[in-house]
Symmetry: C2
Subunit: 157 residues, 2 copies
């Protein structure tokens, strides 16, 4: 057990970082909700569909892409279908399983949401980074991601 402990500067850094995250996330959520009328979760679904061929995916594929529970996707799709953001259709070859596709309305909403999202990210994140800061953050982030082996980390339990 390495038991290295944190200085007060370390804690200050941690708290700044956490608070900045919170601010960025809540500003983006708020902008999407206020200007397009969708949640961050709904935006994720719309974007995943918009990226897919024919704007169509199966539920399982959506869940995998978003790293969500299949049932979460299913429940959310039910609500989004009621709001005419997506359609559930019969899929592929000789009429079988269900597939999810963007509705015309969903496509328009996605378009607007992408603009709102991009300008939020620029304003809050990109435009406030110097080149050096950007590369520092990039390097650190990639290291964290690549070292994230265990699913939830029983962490030397």
């Amino acid at each position: 057990m390495k038991r290295r402990s944190m200085s007060s500067a370390d804690w200050a850094l941690w708290h700044s970082w956490m608070e900045a995250q919170r601010v960025v996330a809540s500003q983006i959520d708020g902008a999407l909700q206020a200007r397009v009328g969708i949640s961050k979760a709904e935006f994720s679904v719309l974007r995943a569909l918009g990226t897919a061929a024919d704007s169509t995916l199966r539920v399982g594929a959506l869940a995998a892409a978003l790293q969500w529970e299949k049932s979460r996707v299913s429940h959310l799709l039910t609500r989004m279908e009621n709001r005419r953001l997506v359609d559930r259709r019969e899929a592929g070859a000789p009429g079988r399983r269900t597939a999810v596709t963007l509705s015309h309305h969903g496509d328009e909403v996605l378009e607007a949401a992408l603009n709102v999202h991009e300008s939020s990210v620029v304003d809050l994140f990109i435009s406030r980074l110097t080149r050096d800061q950007a590369s520092a953050i990039r390097t650190w982030s990639d290291r964290v991601i690549s070292t994230a082996s265990s699913p939830i980390a029983p962490a030397s339990l």
Copy 2:
């Protein structure tokens, strides 16, 4: 409208950063849950109480400290009280309003949680940062926080 748009390197940076956040948050949540049996929200409450004088706060003060809805705090306290993590007591002077305090058990749990939390933060965050990366992140984070004027940002609506 400034309409600056993002390069693919900008997007890659954004996605790395978001994913790193997700990894860090889920590892810490998982460690707290697996090793101490509490959620991140519960940890926040315990820590706020532990920091307060007499380990006691009113609900409103807790909500303000955590930047949460008062009702969220109230609901969570009810669950935590049932699990004997906190007590609700009569407060101050000539016996009036309610106050929340750490139970003996809550205090022990907090102790353990602080250790788990600190070692997670060290492992995931602090120990992976060079001095330059740390100062880059610190500078950026502080700028984001200090510029977060509007509550939810109608953002040039």
